[in-house]
């Protein structure tokens, strides 16, 4: 499943994932945002892996934020924007 979200004032945030037994699997975040250090990408993928497909946006954003070290720099992307892209992947919402 595939969801895209152009963060207002930010960049394109894309999430590809599967749902197995009601939980996220094979989560892959991608896009044209800026994220440092680059290892934070894997940390975000891991934070979303195994989450319930019923988790709401606030819970998903909190999981992402909790997984990030304090020195991570985000530009054009945010935990909230990632959560929106996840929900769009699940709902197959048309791109805005």
């Amino acid at each position: 499943m595939h969801g895209e979200y152009k963060m207002p004032g930010g960049k394109l945030v894309v999430v590809d994932l599967e749902v197995r037994d009601g939980r996220f699997a094979d989560v892959q975040l991608s896009g044209d945002f800026f994220l440092e250090p680059d290892s934070a990408l894997e940390a975000i993928n891991r934070a979303l892996e195994g989450q319930s497909e019923h988790a709401d946006e606030a819970a998903l954003a909190a999981s992402v934020r909790d997984a990030l070290a304090t020195d991570v720099m985000m530009y054009g992307i945010s935990p909230e924007a990632i959560a929106v892209a996840v929900r769009r992947a699940l709902h197959k919402e048309p791109a805005a």
């Binding site: 895209e4 004032g9 960049k11 892959q28 991608s30 896009g31 044209d32 945002f33 800026f34 680059d38």
Partner: protein, 258 residues
Amino acid sequence: MMRTDWRDHDWQLIHTAPQSPTLHMALDDVLTHEVGAGRRAPTLRIWEWAAPAVVIGRFQSLRNEVDGAAAQRHGIEVVRRVSGGGAMFIEPGNTITYSIYAPQSLVKGLSFQEAYAFFDAWVLEALGELGIKAWYQPLNDITSEGGKIAGAAQVHRGGAVLHHVTMAYDIDAAKMLDVLRIGREKLSDKGTVSAAKRVDPLRSQTGLPREAVIERMVATFRRLHGLSDDDLSAEELAQAEALALGKFGSPAWLADVA
């Protein structure tokens, strides 16, 4: 760390013969590291391309961004760079690309948004001298009345910041759209692309050959910030060639975000 100014540094220019796409990726990695380690003075590098390429951003999905079959059909190499941001479609002569390798002190205390605009202020001035009214469009674009001119990306590493920019000189938009998968969500950004056969803001708005535009840009940088002519050291080149072969030419790096 004190904030420094452009003139506090002894800026060096590197503008060599055309190089391969993977070597360009590696040179950005090596030179950022060398400036961060204090072994190289802050440097402006102008890129010349030996071959066509699609350069995808650090976090872009290879399969979502690039039509691999189309790239192969056109003989276009696909490479992944160290910085975030979007895909660039390069054919020798169709863009102007440069990198600035600077100490982080130059942008100390600036927000990301301010730092992007700061690094390209000299370019806006050069474009003004060439008769193009251009401005910074956050987060990371240079734009003009004739449309988007350039996209920038930054990476911070070990005391240094890499700021690199690709400017559209004269792009074959049909070929670009054949190779890049530009989705609906993204097209809002590149809306002018679908209607045009060519994306040529620099060529059409200056009426100058690409080499002349580069010459004027370098002259502006030199006047504003000071600039000495330099070359890659043998050691820098050897390091970059090893990285180009090992890391940046490897399928694992290219598909790191599949």
